[in-house]
Symmetry: C2
Subunit: 613 residues, 2 copies
């Protein structure tokens, strides 16, 4: 039976050949052994500190108590703190960083692979996704002191991080951010931690926005700086980025003892993913009076008006992180339903004379329809895992490849990110539903883990940019940017896979099907933009993204099969061959239905008048 570890080993080494990265200077101290040690450690921590508490953090969801100073405090299960401490203690928060800041210069590909253990064990206890992303952003855009005071203390686990974009009146529409930042006194430019502002506004949907797992919380907050007339620039160009610590910090990185004016206004009570606190935060409402007056103290990161560009540094990583979380949840359901199917007796095989009730029942994995539901899950989830690791490998290429390779990797990542975020979110949700279905009535009870995976999973099509936003990003921007070069690059990679597959007779059928799919997606892209009207082109952006994603997954599976020796008869190889065949026979043919409305720029939905609903 394939386990997560054996699948990761195959993908990392047989397929992606990550050990070749060790030839690069940055990774030259690494070897298969050091990579294995990282995977071993994460697998162990996930097994010991995460998996046993996944149901607990769902049942005992975060709640608030009123503290002595009148502020709300969040209470989490003890297990959450133990998990965080084990995670931070493992060094994984800083694994990818330079040696000179205490990192281990681990390739991102290996970091991402190792992170999947936590997602499978308990996605909502969570790892350091936000904290690492937050600190990485500061390493890229912060001053030296900002890096030292904030980022490095996130990497060592003392502080944790958030990203504060959404507001109650502006969820997906960042142009409408209304949080304002006013220079804090005449000497506001003189603060060693960065130009100091006072922020006022409300931020919604802030994950891990309040808790006591760490000494401090580093909020990265989008806000607008009013001009001399007191007005802000409309649109996203007016947005700046600020570090707003929950508790004020000195230049030595120690807490000053003073609380910043950031107050928890309330918790969101969610359908799932309950191990992670989700908050509404009030900045600068005057609940606290740092340095004697109301207003949340924030330090500008980068230049005024460049906040969104900086934030997207974090957002792209976050989107790949969501894809990985979706994949991990999908795999968790797959493993659970596979176990169940192997142990649950029910029914009898169909014979030519029907069923023989005098025979004992068989285990349900012997039924073709249960096998179909298992193979679908394997096909979706292991395919997603391969795609996520491929994207992670592109991140490494972007950071350590030759300038040409790095730029190619950057462009490919631009095109693939909406797919990496959306495809697992949608298809691993279906996988989780199939995991419930295999369990029958038991799957609908809270005595089995699969209903929780399905609930947790439902968030992934919403957070870090909804499905609709990913689709608009893909068709409206990514496939046309730089003259369509990203799409051409991807097509080149797909064609490379097709050419290699054509040389293996057993893969020629899949290769031909993929070639047709690629051609179809290309033609549909042109047809969508034939009139040049964004409204017409993007009316069916989601079906386009669904089809594009299926093409990408077909490519991923075919490429993975190239790493399976021809004629291999071991169970794992047969499993991969069948999962890929499932994808090509059952899934890829769906592409035509999605692209039909794209090609015709079908206006049925857009033209439905409001009163007709």
């Amino acid at each position: 039976m394939s386990s997560l570890r054996s699948t990761l080993d195959f993908l990392l080494h047989d397929w992606l050949k990550v050990a070749q990265l060790n030839e690069r200077t940055r990774f030259s101290d690494h070897s298969r052994e050091t990579f294995d040690a990282v995977l071993d450690t994460c697998e162990r921590i996930a097994r010991e500190k995460y998996a046993p508490f996944n149901r607990l953090v769902d049942t005992e969801e975060p709640r608030t108590v009123i503290d002595a100073d009148g502020s709300l405090r969040v209470v989490l299960p003890e297990a959450t703190k133990a998990a965080w401490q084990a995670y931070a203690g493992s060094g994984m928060l800083t694994a990818a960083q330079d040696y000179d800041v205490g990192g281990m210069q681990l390739p991102y590909t290996v970091e991402a692979a190792a992170g999947s253990f936590f997602g499978v064990a308990s996605v909502s206890i969570g790892g350091g996704l936000l904290t690492i992303g937050n600190a990485n952003l500061l390493m890229a855009h912060g001053t030296n002191l900002q890096k030292q005071v904030f980022a490095l203390n996130e990497f060592n686990g003392r502080f944790s991080g958030t990203m504060c974009l959404s507001e109650p009146q502006a969820g997906s529409s960042l142009s409408d951010v209304a949080t304002r930042a006013i220079p804090d006194g005449d000497n506001y430019q003189a603060d060693p931690l960065g130009p100091r502002y006072r922020l006022k506004g409300n931020k919604m949907w802030i994950s891990a926005g309040e808790h006591e797992l760490t000494e401090n919380i580093v909020h990265l907050v989008l806000a607008k700086i009013p001009g001399p007339d007191g007005r802000t620039v409309p649109g996203t160009r007016g947005i700046s980025l600020f570090i707003v610590p929950k508790k004020l910090v000195g230049i030595d990185g120690q807490l000053t003892g003073e609380r910043n004016d950031v107050a928890l206004a309330g918790l969101n009570h969610k359908l799932g993913w309950r191990g992670t606190t989700n908050t509404l935060l009030n900045f600068g409402e005057g609940k606290f009076q740092p340095q004697g007056k109301a207003g949340a103290i924030g330090y500008l990161v980068g230049k005024p008006g460049e906040g969104l560009r900086c934030m997207f540094h974090m957002m792209n990583e976050a989107r790949i992180g969501i894809g990985m979380a979706a994949t991990a949840l999908g795999l968790a359901g797959y493993y659970a339903s596979l176990d169940y199917a192997k142990s649950r007796p029910q029914g009898r095989p169909l014979g030519p004379a029907g069923k023989d009730a005098a025979q004992p029942q068989v285990r349900i994995i012997e039924h073709a329809d249960v096998k179909r539901m298992l193979l679908a899950q394997k096909s979706y989830c292991e395919g997603s895992l391969a795609l996520m690791l491929y994207c992670a490998r592109l991140v490494d290429e972007q950071h350590t490849g030759t300038p040409e390779d790095a730029d190619e990797a950057r462009l490919l990542l631009e095109v693939l990110t909406p797919i990496a975020k959306s495809w697992p979110s949608e298809n691993c949700l279906e996988a989780n539903s199939l995991a419930i279905q295999i369990h029958g009535g038991y799957g609908y009870t809270r005595d089995f883990p699969v209903e929780q995976y399905w609930r947790d999973q439902r968030l992934n099509m919403i957070h870090e940019g909804t499905h609709g936003i990913q689709a608009t990003d893909l068709l409206g921007r990514k496939v046309v940017m730089e003259g369509g070069k990203g799409l051409q690059l991807l097509a080149g990679r797909v064609n490379g896979t097709i050419e290699r597959a054509m040389q293996r007779p057993e893969l020629a059928g899949h290769a031909n099907a993929l070639a047709k799919a690629l051609q179809h997606v290309g033609a549909a892209t042109k047809a969508a933009w034939a009139t040049g009207e964004p409204t017409a082109a993007l009316a069916n952006a989601v079906p386009y993204m669904q089809a594009f994603g299926h093409m990408v997954l077909g490519w991923t599976w075919l490429d993975v099969l190239l790493a399976v020796p021809a004629g291999a008869q071991d169970a794992a190889s047969i499993g991969r061959v069948h999962a890929a065949r499932y994808f090509f026979h059952y899934e890829l043919p769906k592409l035509g239905a999605w692209l039909k409305v794209v090609e015709t720029r079908d206006p049925t939905c857009a033209e439905t008048p409001e009163e007709a609903f």
Copy 2:
């Protein structure tokens, strides 16, 4: 804007012309006015007694307390009792029955339509589905005294009913029922309530199996009567059916004061549908000692060994009821997300020059992708509603049509029942997911109703025969039974619709698409059975059912459009035309991908060895 009531009125009168039923003797006292009065009453009760408590029954799910006599008792919110009393008080439990047993001889079509109000308001508070089904079964198969003592007291709301099929070790596999029924003494045949047995066994997944909403609960229980050697007949042929009341009842219908040996062993804690208690019941474990000894007293219904045949009388009704519940949940999500989309400002329209951030935000219903998600919901859910009412109309035809029409209706129902149960269960789940998506992050919180609809909905693919069982029933039995006559009849109806649509130029495109779909389904049915091997034919029964269902819904929508006047420009008509067009443009083309694996009898899943997963 279309409301449930206006949609029902259109489907019942403009499309199905149910008032024509009043020409039949059974319904001759009825008129549009009496039908309207029933709908008015149910709409009012649903609005007052169900809708306000839908979240409450989810939050305060059933719990148990230990009674003075040591037995477990179920505690439900007060609102549940008030809802039941209003429902029973409305006379709806007995609406379809003869005048001489206190009924109103209402057509089932109208009863089903009226029931949809309760499903939309709160599916899990529930109406009388199980109680009516239970009593209907007794009216068909019980003795006169069984009808009088049990069925009539269910119709008047004093008693409620359950169906007890599943056992912990035998969920979908009824052959493996292990509950045993032993004749209760030498005079067991002499009991006026029917041959008296003592039952012993455990029943799982029993909805409404324990509560105090009614004076008594009438369990209909499947069990096996051992032969003289103490052994039972393997398979479903050995199954008999028994009335097992929770509390013993005299021939006058009054409680004797003695408790039967039926004990609540525990509650299932579910993902959703929490307003309905779901129980594990122990029969005959000796917790109670009716008439001085252990063993649950049960009265045989019908003949020994014919239990399953009798039970399926109830099961088919239940399956249509599930389809209607799924439809109602889908509609509830559609209405909620439509309201939200009309009131939530967010983002700006795309213009040729992009978005203008200086303009105010628009309501999200103005975005094409939100319209797409709304139209998809409308297309799925109103299409399902039409199909369910069509099936209900067939039930009326079966009961009151000419012998030829009745037999045709029976056969059509046989073929359509798996679709009526499975299609809304699967597609209205997708509708509920889209309703969450439209709400964005808010949809993922418990502050809005849509996450609950989605959770409640997930049950429908599982209970009353899983998706896989419906698919096997359809492809393995229904389309081939009686020489394929059911499928031919359906094809005849579909072709009739196509012919009428061909005469309306604006419908010719849809008609052609449907004709191709029908031909494709027919060819795939033959191809699936080409080898005559059930294993090969049924390996892809679920994709077959998905395709078959889409063909049926395409037919339903086209037939509905025939009731929309050509060129009608009122909002409701435009809405139906667009919803149907959505189905034909976005959904029907999916059929090819599903049928591909059916036609080729694709063995990918069946041939995946267990160790390869």
